[in-house]
């Protein structure tokens, strides 16, 4: 079974920089000096997909998305 690969993308216009996502997914999201998320480059490791989904659904601004790679 070939698994779809995903990447995390933040909409910087929608994002308010409150940093909820970085708390839920510190493995892939750090914060810049102003509190805005810096997303690790590359695909989301399969083991972190569920955590990434949780971060996506917890974002109060709907600014975070999991995008299938190659689309």
């Amino acid at each position: 079974m070939s698994r779809t690969r995903f990447r995390l993308v933040v909409d910087p216009i929608a994002c308010d920089g409150a940093g909820v996502c970085a708390e839920l997914l510190p493995e892939l999201i750090s914060l810049d000096p102003w509190g805005f998320p810096i997303i690790a480059t590359g695909d989301v490791p399969p083991g972190l997909i569920d955590h990434a989904r949780r971060a996506v659904t917890s974002c109060p601004r709907l600014a975070l998305t999991l995008v299938p790679v190659g689309s």
Binding site: V9, D11, P12, I13, A14, C15, D16, G17, D32, P33, W34, G35, F36, I38, T65, V67, S71
Partner: protein, 428 residues
Amino acid sequence: MSTTHHAGPVGPTRLLAGLSGGGRASLASHIDQWGRIPDATPGAILDALDASGLRGHGGAWFPVGTKWRSIRKAGLRTPVVVANGAEGEPASGKDRLLVMQAPHLVLDGLALAARVTGAGQAYVFVPAEVVPSVRDALAERTARRLDPCPIEVVVAPDRFVAGQETAVVSTIAGRSPGLPTFQGITSIRVKGVGGRPTLVQNVETLAQAALVARFGPTWYRSVGTESAPGTVLTTVSGRWDGPRIVEVPLGTTLARALGIDPAASGLQAVLLGGYGGGWVRPEIALTMPFTEEEARARGTSIGAGVIALVPTGICPLAEVARVARYMEGQGAGQCGPCVNGLDTLANALEHLAWRPQGLRGGAAAIPGLCDLVEGRGACRHPDGVARFVKTGLEVFADHAALHASRGPCAPHAPFLPVPNEAVRGAVR
């Protein structure tokens, strides 16, 4: 290719050869000068564009044929085409000149794009001062039913990012004027104005396409080099009294095109590609083949053709700081990393220029700030500023060391144009 092309003008001056030097060329004088576009199928026009090697002259240098094909294939909805003449870059004047004096060449290119992509609506997106020239030209064309679809003029807001393609789309659609939007993974080529596949093409690119359609790819490639064919309009400042628009054959050297002796140029640096471009040492900038690839290999881009020749005797760090502050103010104020990052960056540069002792970490801290904004906005505005600043700090490293050891330079008249500039040299 079965299309028969006319014989085109000989020599390296093409777009500018057509300009009367004064006012707008009427439709009659335009047709007199250039003739009509020969009848050809959309497929033949696309083949000619591909074969010509024409790329976009609005900044990104994307192959034109490929872009038009992608719109044709984008979906079931009727596409929209846009001539982008916003030219928000203060150091650029080539698009205004072209639209002002040769609007019919631009409109020919737009009509061609509409026909090839099957568009149902076209727009001309230009600053207020050139709107009358376009309106008059459109009136002449409507009377003769020259165009395949309605063409509407939309005024481009006076702001650096207004010509960024998502800002163009949102302004035309009547949403946030002059502000970019976040496209995520969908391109405006698939979903742009009114959700329709949208082609945004620079006005000079369209004018060049109108020449390719007339005279053919072999003619287009008779100037320039194999890998970088044709010419590009540039706005040159620092060589003559005021800025001048020069048509440069690609692949030549600027030393040759501008008549400058690289061994005695009296220059301190050359800014290529404008305020989102990058700084190059004069001996390199003047002698490298003038092509997008060569510019990229040196950390910059030809971009929209801005060439600023900065003489010795002025403080380059003051220029970098002035432009960085201007670019910070020109951002759309929408994205956290852009809003905060560019302000922090401009602050650091103002310190380096005018109060170097007050800069924590010294000049060495600045490239890291550039990394912090790069790729983190909804549009590439911060990326351009980052490139401008990073290359500046490389080329002016010795000067930065002088500021650190000896203090700032004496104030002098500004060099690079910055509209509505606040008090210069103010350190926040």
